[in-house]
Amino acid sequence: MSGFITVLLVILVFVIIYQIGKASEYASAMRGQEVVKYKTNRVIGWLLVAFFFLGLYGIWKCDQYFKPMMLPVASCENGIKWDSMFNTTLVVTGIVFFATQAILFWFAFRYQTTEKSKSFYFAHSNKLELIWTTIPAIAMAILVAIGLRNWAAVTSPAPGDATVVEVVGKQFNWLIRYPGKDNELGKRDFRKINDANNVLGLDWSDPHNNDDIISQKGELHVVVGKPVKLIIGSRDVIHDVGLPHFRLKMDAVPGITTTMWFKPTITTDSMKRITGNPNFVYEISCDQMCGKGHYSMRGTIIVETQAEYDKWMSEQKSYYAENNAPATPAAPAAGAEAPKADSPKAVTMK
């Protein structure tokens, strides 16, 4: 019933608006097209000016509103470069934005038709075209130069002393694998994946796998001040490792390995103080649409001191030990397919 009344009300509003429109048409027909034309023109001119100034006020208010909500200072060097490059681009585009919008609305208002105004025949000027081709071209060259310098820095090979960690996306969570004591990630093969006891398809014939640690909660522990290199992959569809606090993103593509590195500079604890938010946590967001649970594909990064990291690491059991409790490695024979009949199916399509 209430739905019916709402629909009726909406229709009524439209009928009224339509009648206003019609009435104004009759009125203008009676009072003469020309008179109304100039009067309307003036009103619209002022409305455009009002729009422009209200817009400026709105931009300022919007900025005030968002200021306390934005991301805190970037937590890695390249992130700080990102912030500065962003600001440079913002200044360049900001100048162009305010200048051109002001000109647009000023011209519209200033050169509106009046009873005696005439237009000025001015069809082209090569000089002007040259000026406003060259200036944007120079501005673009500067932005490209800054961009390419930063792009080279952020995509450069990771430093040799970087800790290597593997991040693998699956619908809908992140699996994080640490190389363990031997500092070497073992081989893995998607055909050996088994949700019960081999989520990443580790190849047990590779001894490097024996000490690898897997966090299925998507918890990435990193040491402050020490570069970390992420080896990124995906088990099923394309995901994306998004690290907003580090101003970084990289797709996780099945069948292709991608990488990304950064050097965290602020621990989670310090960040809690900086932001004044006791619940602050570095989050890993999935930034590539990956299915119905895309919005819930959340991981976390814990940036901590070397001592805290070592302590945490010493408490972790290797994935092998976790799944093959006391003895006998249950490694399937080489070349065998992943178990078929008894594989749990519940994970992907809940």
């Binding site: 608006i17 050169y111 944007p136 998607f190």
Partner: protein, 605 residues
């Protein structure tokens, strides 16, 4: 429609049509041939427009539904259950259907409204009457183009009603998500229908595009040299060129996807474990699809923008009573944009792991495209300088178009620079950017065109007051919706999320999300004012009493008020001058039609 029965005999009237309806003596065509299987470019243009409007309402309503979810994730809206049934049980959208709505909203608006609805309408309406032709090069192919579009529309519409729902992998439908039925509900039958519908859409688009190009190149009237064509025609010409060269690439991408989905190939699939088992596919590349998709996908942005640019140029010039400034610079910048449009696609893929060096090249080429765009903006501004501006609805929308094009274009400089994109990619900054520039701005170009040429289409005016209300609500609303989204994006808020409440980094934007949703709903209803105005004015609008109500120089205003099939009753007029001679005609008028011979001593432009 006084002249509807008069089909003028001319050398180029509807050759292919003669069998069905080219009677010499008849006065009233049968309803079916006149309104449904019409080969008159003007009727086909109206068909595209009306279909586009219907799709736009559906697509926009979808955005209202998913905005309600985003704005009020904890509330229920029982009215949604009425529309969506099981998908919104108890008035709460399910995540699967949220993604389906997002996907369909994108597909519908990008392809069905802003490609078919926009180019289809205005290329069909304007090309013949602005270059002085009786109809398209092939009116029959033109009719087919609409009917392929119609068929494609029907299939897409059907996919909304199937049990597993329509495609839900985003309008870009990246595999493997879109390739594997196990990956999501929408990747089942919904995706098959999506691909089928899009394949037909490509066919429609190619039939239309080839026709537009051949008409423009071959069927211009006497004196209508290429450099005397209105900028709308130039823009529609390059739009068609972009479509003809890039849609086939998209088509090939779809074919491979169809093979991967149904015939066990591995073009896009490799090393996948899903639904509890490892798939046999090895060696494909999921990124290949993205290259093929964006090779159309980026030119597509310009397929959407160029018609708006052309129409804004025409409207700004006409209603400023001043020639378009820098006619040749406008053409050269269109050429520049068209060429560069093919060389920038990978800026959508900076973070896919592609070679950083390749990324650098695409940064350079992408930012280069800002130069011709800037030239266009400055030319529009100078067109208005010292003009004699009449604020009627088409002009308002053209001014709004320029404002939005500036706002949305400038944010492209952030995203085109890979070092900035690496953080902003797939956040709300992107959503804000492309909605302003190729969404709202393109719509403003389209509205400018509709308000401007409505008198030519239907012999009546649209209501001005409603037009002003529509304009101001839409302009203010568009900025209120999309301006805050930039901030959310800079804060890293990812797009295509169903709910942010579990995220420490993004949950504090809840209030602003609710605000955006409310404004979006209001703006949706404001568009209905336009729809009512459009359909009511078709039958009850103020009648056009003169052939050239705007005082325009171009050829379409030399046709009768309600032109029949064939457009001109006598001979096709000859053209003597460029299309923007807004100057003193020596008799107190402020424009000289293209059909007026040069006065003695007058130099051509």
């Amino acid at each position: 429609m006084n002249n509807a029965g008069v089909i003028t005999e001319g050398p180029s009237v509807a050759h292919a049509a003669s069998a069905e309806h080219h009677g010499h003596e008849h006065h009233e065509q049968h309803f079916i041939w006149k309104y449904i299987f019409s080969q008159d470019h003007k009727m086909i243009s109206k068909q595209f427009l009306v279909t586009g409007i219907i799709w736009a309402i559906i697509g926009a309503l979808m955005s209202v539904f998913f905005r309600l979810q985003l704005g009020f994730p904890d509330s229920t809206f029982p009215i949604m259950e009425k529309f969506l049934g099981e998908w919104a049980k108890g008035g709460k959208l399910s995540p699967e259907f949220y993604y389906a709505l997002v996907t369909m909203h994108g597909t519908i608006l990008v392809f069905f409204v802003l490609t078919a609805g926009l180019s289809g309408t205005f290329a069909n309406l304007l090309i013949p009457i602005q270059i002085g032709a009786r109809d398209m090069a092939s009116p029959f192919m033109n009719m087919l183009s609409y009917w392929f579009f119609f068929l494609s529309s029907v299939i897409m519409l059907v996919s909304l009603f199937i049990e597993t729902g329509p495609a839900s992998g985003g309008w870009t439908t990246y595999p493997p998500l879109s390739a594997l039925k196990e990956a999501s509900l929408g990747s089942g039958l919904g995706m098959d229908l999506w691909l089928l519908s899009m394949a037909l859409f490509v066919v429609s688009s190619l039939l239309g595009g080839l026709n537009y190009i051949s008409t423009i190149l071959n069927m211009r009237t006497k004196g209508m040299t290429m450099t005397r064509m209105p900028l709308t025609i130039w823009a529609l010409f390059f739009t068609a060129v972009l479509g003809v060269l890039s849609f086939p690439v998209l088509f090939s991408g779809f074919i491979l996807l169809i093979f991967d989905r149904n015939f066990g190939t591995s073009f896009y699939l490799s090393e996948i474990f899903i639904g509890g088992k490892a798939l046999p596919h090895i060696g494909g590349s999921a990124i290949l699809y993205q290259h093929l998709f964006w090779f159309l996908g980026h030119p597509e942005v310009y397929i959407i923008m160029l018609p708006g640019m052309g129409m804004a140029s025409e409207v700004l010039s006409t209603h400023s009573r001043k020639p378009i400034f820098g006619y040749f610079a406008m053409i050269i910048s269109l050429i520049g944009i068209t060429l560069l449009a093919f060389l920038v696609w990978a800026h959508h893929m900076f973070v896919t792991g592609m070679s950083p060096f390749l990324g650098s090249i695409f940064v350079l080429l992408t930012l280069l495209i800002a130069v011709p765009s800037a030239v266009k903006v400055f030319n529009w501004l100078t067109t208005m300088w010292r003009g004699n501006i009449r604020f009627n609805p088409p002009m308002m929308f053209a001014i709004g178009f320029v404002s939005l094009f500036i706002s949305g274009g400038l944010t492209g400089l952030f995203l085109g620079n890979s070092a900035i994109d690496i953080h902003l990619h797939d956040t709300y900054f992107v959503v804000a950017h492309f909605h302003i520039v190729m969404g709202v701005s393109a719509f403003f170009g389209m509205f400018a065109g509709i308000y401007h040429w409505f008198p030519k289409m239907f012999g009546r005016f649209m209501n001005n007051t409603l037009g002003y209300i529509h304009f101001f609500i839409t302009l203010v609303g568009a900025y209120l919706i999309f301006w805050p989204m930039h901030y959310e994006g800079i804060a890293g808020m990812p797009r295509r999320y169903y709910d942010f409440s579990a995220w420490e980094s993004f949950k504090h934007f809840q209030d602003i999300n609710a605000f955006i949703s409310i404004i979006a709903t209001i703006v949706f209803f404001a568009q209905l004012i336009f729809v009512i105005n459009f359909f009511a004015s078709m039958f009850r609008g103020r009648k056009v009493t003169t052939m050239n109500p705007w005082g325009s120089t171009t050829l379409e205003w030399t046709t009768p008020i309600n032109p029949g099939h064939g457009n001109w009753e006598g001979d096709i007029p000859e053209v003597y001058r460029w299309p923007y001679d807004y100057k003193d005609d020596g008799n107190g008028g402020d424009f000289i039609s293209q059909t007026t011979p040069l006065r003695p001593g007058e130099e051509s432009h």
